[in-house]
């Protein structure tokens, strides 16, 4: 291609709207156009109009009438054309070429600027949403009626315990119920739930709070605690998660903005779908450190009201953590209830404020129970 030749898309030949690629040679007196299909046309420069066009406003448009009469519209994207014309072009086009160069620069600057501003706004909106999300979740949780929460809880219980045995009798069940029945009368009235404890025969060392007043206890945890008071502490703690709607908040946080907004606008259906899908994953739902501290503090108050020694509760976590590394199943309750060191400190501070008193023992021979549970397992 000789110097001063530029590729372009040529309209105005035959069908309107149809274009043909070609090369434009910008000489001083005339522009010579060689189309890729072999046709050649000549445009005298005194009939040429230069402008900017195209979708992005950055095409260079050459319009003019050919010597043979065709009205041509040539779209080019080579900025060198303007550079060439502003120096070597016909006198009548030099100034226009310079103006179009300037116009192109400002179009490009403006495009970059508006993109930058847009991306900055997007980042800002994302940040605002992140800040405001916790607040939205709080509001959305308040909008879920207790009846819906209860059926959500049932879905979760079924998902977690579907392939496992739910106990309704036997020593493990009876021991758990004895502790549960000591705790229940101490729960302050005024909550909308029917509190329910489900004892599941499973080696998992965990206890879970599900929405709507449901607590799930695995027998694996019962074999790890050393006393009925320890288990009472754990159940009291889970009860506070339930009463404070922590599981529902956790699920909403996991489910994301769409579900939260759906709930705010009165569509509990979205939440149901998410819980059906992720209900089984509730075991992996971890609470925030603030939620843990709140559940601990209220659990101690509940234990004191139930006349159960609250100081035994942290022993479980201390012991579990000391051997935690080599007990994978135990990691479940440690990882879903984060921040044991801080929690222990906060609990000890709370214990120091308690009046000196003797509590009424729950009265279960825990070592005997564990032996019976392990024996029953080996007998199978």
């Amino acid at each position: 291609m000789p110097a001063g030749t530029f590729r372009g898309d040529v309209f105005g030949l035959g069908d309107p709207g149809q274009s043909c690629p070609g090369s434009l040679e910008a000489a001083y007196e005339e522009f010579r156009l060689r189309l890729d299909d072999g046709r050649q046309l000549v445009l005298p420069t005194d009939r040429i109009k230069l402008s900017r066009g195209g979708f992005d406003g950055l095409h260079i448009i050459v319009e003019g009438q050919a010597e043979t009469g065709e009205n041509l519209y040539i779209s080019l994207q080579d900025e060198l054309l303007l550079d060439h014309l502003s120096h070597l072009g016909p006198a009548g086009l030099r100034e226009t070429a310079r103006q179009l160069q300037q116009q192109g620069r400002s179009t490009r600057t403006w495009a970059t600027l508006s993109l930058t501003v847009f991306l900055a706004l997007l980042a800002l909106a994302g940040f605002g949403l992140w800040l405001g999300f916790g607040w939205l979740v709080e509001r959305a949780v308040g909008m879920v009626p207790p009846s819906v929460e209860k059926s959500l809880g049932q879905i979760v219980v079924e998902a977690v315990a579907s392939d496992k045995k739910k106990l309704t009798q036997g020593p493990a069940f009876e021991a758990a119920m004895k502790i549960w029945n000591r705790l229940l009368p101490a729960v302050p009235a005024g909550h909308p739930y029917t509190l329910q404890l489900h004892v599941i025969d499973d080696p998992m060392v965990n206890a879970l709070a599900a929405p709507g007043g449901q607590i799930i206890l695995f027998t694996g945890l019962m074999k790890e605690v050393a006393s009925a008071e320890e288990l009472a502490g754990i159940l009291a703690h889970e009860l506070q998660h339930v009463l404070k709607k922590h599981p529902l908040k956790g699920i909403m946080q996991k489910a994301g903005l769409a579900v939260v907004l759906g709930t705010l606008f009165g569509d509990a259906g979205a939440l149901t779908v998410v819980i059906r899908e992720y209900g089984g994953k509730l075991a992996e739902l971890s609470y925030s450190r603030d939620q843990e501290r709140e559940a601990d503090r209220l659990a101690v108050e509940l234990l004191v009201r139930a006349n159960i020694d609250p100081t035994r509760f942290p022993e479980f976590f201390r012991r579990l953590q000391s051997k935690g590394g080599n007990l994978p199943a135990a990691l479940a309750i440690l990882s879903t209830h984060p921040g044991h060191e801080e929690r222990e400190q906060a609990l000890q501070a709370q214990f120091r404020l308690l009046p000196a008193t003797t509590y009424e023992p729950i009265g279960i021979d825990w070592a005997g129970l564990k032996a019976a549970l392990t024996g029953a397992e080996q007998g199978r």
């Binding site: 309209f11 709207g17 690629p21 070609g22 095409h59 501003v117």
Partner: protein, 227 residues
């Protein structure tokens, strides 16, 4: 390399015949069937940043599939995800096209597809989003539509009005303005916002006979409400 439309219409498919060593890129998941001489690779087109930009900004998938005739000649059949027609465009090195998001189906590997900003207000008003795709280079490009696809060719300065949700693709020489539809022209039920695009020639504009958004709301009325 040869692109052919098989069964044009609502369930169109394309057949691309490749000579040994030739490659095309296609929307990921669009491959229907192919000759065993071909290999499929996931490819992050335009580098990781380019691909991420395309995925985040236009909602396209992160990866294109690259289909390469590595072991000899062969052909591949490619179809879009939604019922609709397919059209073939030629990039000659001097022209380029803009595609509405989700219009890209397949192209010569030499064609480059990138996400470009169409400006804040235009993006907001057109309903096409802030970012559209730009196809440049030299080679064949196949685009897909929802419903059938129709082309109008505009002479320089000629104008036409298209409902924004029906726009599929347009030549780089075409410009458009977003306008409020005059009452009675286009039902605001179909366009949603009552906004239309006034396209200005020269160049080709492709539009589709069905509006995905309107179709979605039509379907929704038959789905029972949950819980």
């Amino acid at each position: 390399m040869k692109f052919e439309i098989i069964q044009p219409g609502s369930y169109a498919m394309i057949k691309v015949t490749l000579a040994r060593g030739e490659a095309i890129k296609a929307e990921s998941g669009a491959m229907v069937a192919m000759h065993p001489n071909l290999d499929v690779e996931g490819k992050v087109d335009g580098g990781m940043f380019g691909a991420l930009k395309r995925a985040v900004l236009t909602g396209e998938s992160l990866f294109f599939q690259t289909l390469k005739a590595s072991r000899g000649d062969g052909e591949v059949y490619i179809a879009p995800a939604v019922p609709g027609d397919v059209t073939i465009l030629e990039l000659n090195g001097a022209n380029h096209f803009f595609l509405q998001k989700q219009s890209f189906l397949a192209s010569d590997d030499a064609v480059s597809i990138e996400a470009v900003s169409q400006g804040f207000f235009k993006g907001l008003l057109s309903g096409e989003g802030m970012f559209i795709q730009k196809a440049t280079g030299k080679g064949t490009l196949a685009i897909s539509s929802f419903g059938s696809i129709y082309k109008i060719s505009l002479a320089p300065g000629q104008q036409y009005i298209v409902d924004n949700s029906h726009l599929v693709a347009w030549a780089g020489t075409v410009t458009y303005d977003v306008q409020k539809a005059s009452s009675g022209w286009f039902s605001s039920v179909t366009s949603g916002e009552g906004l239309v695009c006034k396209v200005n020639g020269p160049g080709d504009v492709w539009f589709q006979s069905r509006n995905p958004g309107a179709f979605g709301s039509w379907i929704r009325q038959f789905i029972p409400a949950k819980g």
